[in-house]
């Protein structure tokens, strides 16, 4: 039996919040927010695994736990057999992440930001620079933007640089947290094509969270639907759709699946989040 790329077992994560103090001498009341509640799933090597859910459903918490940026309160997370809590360093060597907020040194150029990333991951800088250029061109960024400050770039272009940074280190597990949010339709297709390419050429496993049902349908081998910190469905897209009756005469979509399972449309759920 081969080791799964990702094994998440009964993971629970609760955040404690303290409300604003009423006076200098009183302490704010503590409240708990359950981000993940007994989440269990596994992802096979080479699979593109989607996680669908509204804002606040626990998607990003899950990605942060897999990125070793958070520690679970209970349960376990293994990446290619390495415990993400106890063997954090080994996990870090295998992963990279693209998050919805393109976090960069805004006054640096894309090349300076990517050089910083390459050095952090111990890559020799010569070949890394060559690879940076190739990936950025492949994602549709123009050569003249490579050396201009990130703060002068559009949100979509910044997100493409974030995607380039995620791919730069050739991770065997790529964590994509809403990677195409803010991209125009053409750029979205560029990124999606690149994800497919990475999976086929580099044997990478991809874990993708998204609000975009079409994107999930197009890219993912299996999809988990998460709501209020719990996985409420997990299957291949076709079987998820099979379980939902036809509405208004059309074949069910993932949006219909989401509506059926959570009682709300993705857009409504996002507003609640």
């Amino acid at each position: 039996m081969t080791t799964p790329a990702v094994q998440v077992q009964d993971v629970r994560k609760v955040f404690v919040k303290r409300e604003r103090r009423r006076s200098a001498f009183s302490r704010g009341k503590r409240s708990q927010a359950i981000a993940l509640d007994g989440v269990t799933f596994s992802v096979d090597r080479g699979e593109v695994f989607g996680i669908l859910g509204p804002n606040g459903s626990g998607k990003s918490t899950l990605i942060r736990l897999l990125s070793t940026l958070l520690l679970p309160d209970s349960g376990s997370i293994h990446v290619f057999g390495h415990d993400a809590t106890r063997d954090e360093f080994a996990v870090k060597q295998l992963i990279n992440r693209v998050s919805v907020d393109a976090a960069f040194f805004k006054k640096f150029s894309p090349l300076e930001n990517l050089s910083y990333a390459a050095r952090l991951y111990g890559m020799p800088i010569g070949p890394a620079r060559q690879r940076m250029r190739e990936i950025m061109l492949r994602l549709g960024l123009k050569e003249e933007t490579f050396t201009s400050p990130m703060e002068h770039m559009s949100r979509g272009m910044q997100q493409k640089v974030a995607v380039a940074r995620g791919f730069l280190t050739s991770p065997v597990l790529l964590l994509l947290d809403e990677p195409t949010t803010g991209l125009d339709p053409h750029s979205k297709l560029d990124v999606q094509a690149f994800v497919r390419e990475i999976r086929s050429d580099h044997d990478a496993t991809v874990l993708l969270t998204t609000h975009d049902m079409e994107e999930a349908d197009r890219l993912c081998d299996r999809i988990a639907i998460i709501d209020s910190g719990r996985i409420i469905a997990l299957d291949v897209p076709e079987r998820l759709k099979e379980g939902v009756r036809k509405r208004n005469g059309h074949e069910p979509t993932l949006e219909d699946v989401f509506l059926e399972l959570t009682g709300k449309r993705i857009a409504e759920a996002e507003k609640e989040g």
Binding site: K92, F105, R119, G122
Partner: protein, 274 residues
């Protein structure tokens, strides 16, 4: 060997990043340099004007050198302290903290890179201030033990690296106000370490606290070297004590830092950018 090369590349990432930050925020650098320079001049002019202030005859040249040594050494040590204590604060300001903490790099390597930059930056900056200030005052360092002074300064740097790590914990623990707390820590060190006056001037209880500040010994030793030409042999016990204590504080600081990092990961405190 391969692992070592990777770690060194990682350490250089912080050196290059900080040099790039300096270039991009060059306006801040100029303002900060002017502020430090004017501050050093203002403090040193107190010595130059002391004869007029007190109305008695004093060794003004000695006073000027006494204050200048204090202010320059403090400029250098505080650059080391701030460069290291801000290694987390910068990441919070720029919003890159999660990305850096996710990279396969040890915290020790992170620190080595930050320290290499801090020492280089501190030396260059202090030399620039010294060169300009020297144009305002007549400095006579003919009897000074310069090699001893450099040795002492390097030993003092080790201690300040340790203190910087301890201070870097604050922005990790308190995303909104941690960076300001490091200013308070630096101000306390300035008060108690005899930068502008002998520690004996302070009340007894502050003198007791001053005994725990490495800056006290660095500045005292530097004055002994530069004003009285104290031989290097006599400085060695202080140098060894500073290196030993500094190494101890670095080890303890890193251990606390790792625990606080684990706490921040449990409590979800890496995410907020303050």
């Amino acid at each position: 060997m391969n692992a070592f090369v990777k770690e060194m590349r990682g350490a250089y990432a912080f050196v290059e990043r900080n040099i790039n930050l300096m270039k991009r925020y060059w306006g801040w650098e100029v303002v900060w340099l002017i502020y430090s320079l004017v501050n050093s001049l203002a403090v040193t002019y107190i010595g130059a004007g002391m004869e007029r202030i007190s109305g008695t005859s004093l060794d003004t040249q000695y006073l000027i050198t006494y204050l200048l040594v204090g202010t320059l050494i403090w400029q250098y040590l505080s650059v080391i302290f701030y460069s290291i204590s801000e290694m987390i604060a910068w990441e919070r300001w720029e919003g890159t903290i999660e990305y850096t903490f996710m990279a396969p790099i040890s915290r020790s390597t992170h620190l080595v890179g930050t320290t290499l930059f801090a020492i280089g930056y501190g030396v260059v900056r202090t030399l620039v201030i010294l060169a300009i200030v020297a144009g305002f005052f007549h400095l006579n360092l003919s009897g000074a033990n310069l090699s001893g002074a450099i040795l002492l300064l390097l030993a003092g740097s080790v201690s300040f690296v340790g203190l910087g790590i301890l201070a870097a914990i604050l922005p990790l623990l308190y995303p909104e106000r941690g960076a300001q707390m490091t200013n308070a820590a630096a101000a306390i060190l300035l008060l108690i370490s005899g930068v502008y006056y002998p520690v004996a001037t302070l009340p007894g209880w502050l003198q007791t606290i001053a005994a725990g500040s490495p800056a006290t010994y660095v500045i005292e030793g530097m004055r002994a070297c530069l004003l009285h030409g104290e031989p290097t042999g006599k400085l060695l016990p202080t140098v060894l004590a500073l290196v030993g204590a500094g190494a101890g504080v670095i080890v303890v600081g890193l251990a606390i830092f790792r625990r606080v990092e684990a706490y921040a990961k449990r409590a979800g405190r890496l995410k907020r950018s303050g």
